[in-house]
């Protein structure tokens, strides 16, 4: 129940984000809204739910993006595996530590995309694009994830049963 609400909220936010980019012509700062939800479900609801969230969210991102087929799923799943391997070592004690992890996840995902793009297709064009946006995307996603964390916590306290 919780996982489906988180995933649906994420999908809804992504659709709004795509439509809102037409209103606010931001190019340098496009946060990855999917990442905070993937991290939250993986860390707090378990790896199984996290994997489902990763697959649905990354597939949905590919629908709303011109990214090559399979690329977002690949990078997000790689980052997901790393996240479950580090699960015991990652401590989220506040919205700020959550934000750092989200920012780091974006960095890792972007670097992975560059390597993936270079190795599998030998493409350098996309790699340069990604390289340009790594830092701003990471910072902005980290910033947005603070609000997403607050939103999820609000949903938990107000509508869903809190699990410790």
């Amino acid at each position: 129940m919780k996982a489906s609400i988180y995933i649906l909220t994420c999908l809804l936010l992504m659709i709004i984000e795509s439509a809102m980019f037409l209103v606010f012509p931001v190019e340098f700062f496009k946060p990855d809204i999917g990442i905070p939800f993937i991290i939250y479900t993986t860390i707090f609801l378990g790896p199984g739910t996290g994997l489902v969230a990763t697959l649905i969210i990354s597939l949905f991102q590919e629908i709303l993006s011109n990214a090559p087929q399979g690329s977002i799923i690949f990078t997000k799943t790689c980052a997901f595996i790393l996240l479950i391997l580090l699960r015991g070592k990652v401590f989220i004690d506040s919205k700020y530590s959550f934000s750092y992890i989200c920012g780091g996840y974006v960095l890792f995902e972007s670097i992975l995309f560059i390597i993936f793009s270079l190795l599998s297709r030998g493409e350098l064009k996309n790699a340069i694009n990604v390289l340009v946006y790594i830092i701003p995307n990471s910072i902005f996603t980290g910033f947005v994830s603070i609000f997403i964390f607050v939103l999820i916590e609000y949903l938990n306290e107000r509508f869903l049963q809190r699990e410790y």
Binding site: M14, I15, L22, L51, I128
Partner: protein, 267 residues
């Protein structure tokens, strides 16, 4: 144990997505089907949610208009005195009007060759340049159909769903357009740079090209029909090494400000 199973599934997903990315036909087709099914469910939601954003855009624009109203008033008073100069501009506007009329004439002449669509979304990632339009397979849109506005080329449809389609903008690094320099014999390939400007490649240093030249599609790439304006040459560097000149082009369309587009049906 459970963790091991999940990691195994995740690794399996990795392998499949890798095979999809490397365009292995059987995997690619299967993946496309799943994506299309999910995309068809997304279309109506995106269309619905783009309506309030249009209102938000109106409020946003009005707000900035209001901020500038005092300044604008002062400028208007100054402009009133220099109305004579404006008359010279009229000639230019008349030219533009003629050009637009000719495009409109084209649409009227071939009413079944163009599909009008509204822009309802934009790429979630800033790594790629793409817009989402509200016309899809049901309206006759197909992949590789050119997307234009009366100003010029916007891009081409790259993914078509039931109700919506994705359009790769000419600014995208994966985009290339075969172009001619209008009124001259020079020809080149216009490539996206992910920035606001485009690069015109394979133009020889001694080719006939100058700043301010208009570029039009050649029709030789089999995607864009011949004669559609694309952009204007803004810089030419003939001092770099090699046989080709370095040419920067400003596209006529700012995709950030495109609201309505025309999709050209292929015959």
């Amino acid at each position: 144990m459970k963790k091991t199973i999940i990691i195994t599934i995740a690794v399996l997903v990795l392998v499949i997505s890798f095979l999809v990315f490397t365009n292995i036909p059987s995997f690619f087709k299967g993946y496309s089907k799943i994506k299309i099914c999910m995309g068809e469910a997304t279309g109506p939601a995106l269309k619905l949610l783009s309506k309030p954003t249009q209102l938000a855009r109106y409020i946003y624009d009005s707000y900035f208009n209001l901020i500038g109203v005092k300044k604008e008033n002062f400028e208007l008073q100054k402009k009133f005195e220099s109305l004579q100069l404006e008359n010279h501009r009229l000639a230019e506007l008349e030219k533009e009007n003629k050009r637009l009329k000719s495009i409109l004439h084209l649409v009227e002449q071939y009413p079944n060759t163009m599909i009008a669509a509204s822009v309802i979304g934009e790429d979630l990632k800033n790594w790629f340049k793409c817009i989402i339009i509200d016309k899809g397979r049901d309206h006759g849109v197909k992949e590789k159909m050119p997307v234009i506005t009366p100003k010029g080329v916007v891009g081409q449809a790259v993914e078509v769903n039931k109700w919506h389609s994705k359009v790769m903008i000419i600014n995208d690094t994966n985009s290339s357009v075969d172009v001619y320099v209008d009124g001259k014999n020079s020809r080149g390939i216009l490539e996206g740079t992910d920035q606001t400007t485009l690069k015109l490649k394979y133009v020889l240093k001694n080719d006939e090209i100058a700043i301010g030249d208009k570029l039009i599609t050649s029709g030789k790439d089999t995607v864009y029909p011949k004669g559609i304006p694309v952009g204007i040459v803004i810089t030419i560097n003939r001092n770099k090494a090699g046989i080709f000149a370095d040419v920067d082009v400003m596209p006529f369309n700012n995709y950030k400000r495109v609201d309505e587009v025309l999709i050209v049906k292929k015959r």
